[in-house]
């Protein structure tokens, strides 16, 4: 099967290649597309990638879509896979419309059916269920999340690097300014310990002791959606519409546990909740639900951890 993959990030392309090689046992060729100049070109073949297209001179999303579609056509790709993020999902859907392909968003597992068509699984209903979808069209496209597989250097392809100049296209949506967000120093997706604050924390200054707790445990601080979206104490949050995290230890402080928040922490190993309301949904949805006033509990917790030499 001929497959084209796209991500700005080479690591993501290697993860996707590893997943393709384990999920599609038939002989496949993987042509990957990126926008970054690779500094590890020789490596890419070892990670299961046959060709790497590097797109140059890119100015807008229309040019990127045109380039991915052009390469996919030349490579006669039947399956196009993009790393899942907000912009790439839009790109994937636009390509799907233009080539008449069925699309699976945020696909976490996939295989090829006996008739050669794609079958994929994705989380639905705030991660309460898994849906299995079959693409009926000849061509298929999907987006897959980061870390869908570990990169595996077990192949001996010679990866050909091809520099591809984009065809200039005038954009219909002109980006006139970009403001970078101030984000967590450690990406939340790779944090081992997360202390997350919710509306139960009364003042922004009170986040300081939660940050101290996070530091002692070797982790980072984050929050639930209302704390970021409504109170604007943080620029990012944990939940279905924010980050989906998988730390070893997740401590929810003053978070009630709306279903969208719970969907974001489903892959955490151990979930601790501290809430003074014993009826808060998070108490029942945690491994350890502590019914206590966080303003009494957290300082004592920090004190004990310090006395243990943390």
């Amino acid at each position: 099967m001929k497959i084209v993959t796209f991500s700005e990030n080479l690591e993501a392309l290697m993860e996707i290649a590893a997943k393709v090689r384990e999920s599609i046992p038939m002989e496949s060729s993987i042509s990957s597309i990126t926008t970054m100049k690779p500094n590890m070109r020789e490596e890419m073949g070892r990670y299961g990638i046959n060709k790497l297209y590097v797109i140059e001179g890119l100015r807008n999303i229309e040019e990127l879509i045109d380039a991915i579609m052009g390469i996919s056509e030349r490579e006669e790709a039947k399956l196009i896979i993009l790393e899942s993020n907000k912009v790439n999902k839009e790109i994937a859907i636009k390509i799907a419309v233009n080539i008449g392909a069925g699309y699976i968003a945020d696909c976490i597992d996939f295989k090829i059916d006996v008739d050669g068509k794609l079958i994929g699984k994705r989380m639905v209903y705030a991660s309460k269920a898994v849906e299995t979808i079959k693409v009926l069209s000849e061509k298929a496209i999907m987006t897959v999340p980061r870390r869908i597989s570990e990169p595996k250097p077990e192949w001996n392809f010679t990866c050909e690097i091809i520099y591809e100049k984009v065809k200039p296209i005038e954009t219909k949506t002109l980006v006139i300014d970009v403001k970078k967000k101030e984000l967590s120093a450690v990406p939340l997706e790779s944090a081992e310990v997360i202390v997350a604050v919710g509306r139960g924390v009364k003042k922004k200054e009170d986040c300081k002791i939660m940050e101290e707790l996070a530091k002692i445990l070797g982790g980072v601080i984050s929050c639930s959606r209302p704390v970021a979206a409504d109170l604007k104490w943080f620029n990012e949050w944990i939940g279905l519409s924010g980050h989906k995290v998988s730390p070893k230890l997740y401590i929810a402080v003053g978070i009630s546990g709306a279903i969208q928040h719970l969907a974001g922490i489903q892959n955490a190993k151990v979930v601790v909740a501290i809430n003074k309301d014993s009826e808060a949904p998070i108490i029942k949805s945690a491994d350890y639900g502590v019914v206590a006033d966080l303003y009494e509990f957290i300082p004592k917790f920090i004190e004990r951890l310090k006395s243990m030499g943390k």
């Binding site: 699309y103 079959k134 219909k172 491994d287 004592k300 917790f301 951890l305 243990m308």
Partner: protein, 256 residues
């Protein structure tokens, strides 16, 4: 200014139960509601209308019950409502987008088309972008503010690591986030009036579009939540801390 807003009736995901034996999600007994983010889309449409004049048309596709979300939209203040009645059964996002785009083209022209960034049930974020691409108009996703001036919109677009300020000429399709506004609550009188307002219904099967889905759902299975659910309560703070700490040490997530 003619504004269209595309809305969807979804199951109330928070109330969805999973059968403990078969892991079947009990969808047919779950209450329905408007997909939350679509209320933000309606609110934004009404705000634009209040500032620039014009009319707001709400469109939905769904079974007979889907009319309820149009009544809610009318109670909030939209002028017209169109119900594409799904008389075909199982379809996918492709057919939904083809149908809505068809109505937008035949009932338009609309200068601004608004959608929620994604629906609360499936989260595929697909229909808005598909409609725009079908109609070959500019598409701006994840808007957290919209400013209309002349024949242009300026939109603050909320991405993972950055905010983009994007300009586009109308007609334009914009998908909005929950952060863009706080939807108004309809007044009781408006709800009563909305119940009497006629809603135009068109059968999906009668539209001259491709009605063959590109994808098919084979199975939906509930996910087992494997949390321990141990509750530590009614203890003095010192004891509660000890209890939690001992457990976390046992779990191996805190080293002694």
């Amino acid at each position: 200014m003619e504004i269209a807003v595309c809305i969807k009736q979804s199951i109330d995901v928070a109330q969805l139960k999973i059968d403990p034996k078969s892991f079947e999600p009990l969808i047919s007994v779950t209450p329905m509601k408007i997909s939350d983010i679509d209320r933000n889309a309606i609110e934004e449409a009404l705000k634009i209308k209040e500032k620039h004049g014009g009319k707001v048309t709400a469109i939905t596709l769904g079974g007979e019950k889907a009319k309820e979300v149009l009544r809610e939209a009318i109670a909030m203040g939209v002028d017209n409502a169109i119900h594409i009645l799904n008389d075909l059964g199982e379809i996918d996002e492709y057919v939904v987008s083809e149908a809505i785009a068809n109505i937008l083209k035949t009932r338009g022209p609309f200068q601004i088309i608004l959608c929620g960034e994604m629906s609360i049930d499936k989260y595929t974020a697909q229909v808005g972008v598909r409609i725009a691409e079908n109609m070959k108009i500019p598409c701006i996703t994840y808007a957290r503010s919209i400013n209309v001036e002349g024949n242009e919109v300026t939109v603050e677009r909320d991405l993972e690591d950055r905010i983009e300020i994007v300009k586009a000429k109308m007609p334009v399709l914009i998908t909005v986030t929950r952060e863009i506004n706080i939807p108004r609550l309809p007044q009781l009188m408006a709800i009563l009036r909305a119940a009497k307002k006629p809603i135009e219904t068109i059968n999906l099967s009668q539209l001259k579009i491709d009605l063959n889905p590109k994808t098919k759902v084979l199975e939906v299975k509930g996910v087992e939540i494997k949390r321990k659910g141990i509750v530590i309560k009614d203890l003095p703070v010192d004891k509660a801390v000890d209890e939690l700490l001992n457990n976390l040490i046992k779990e191996g997530v805190i080293k002694r």
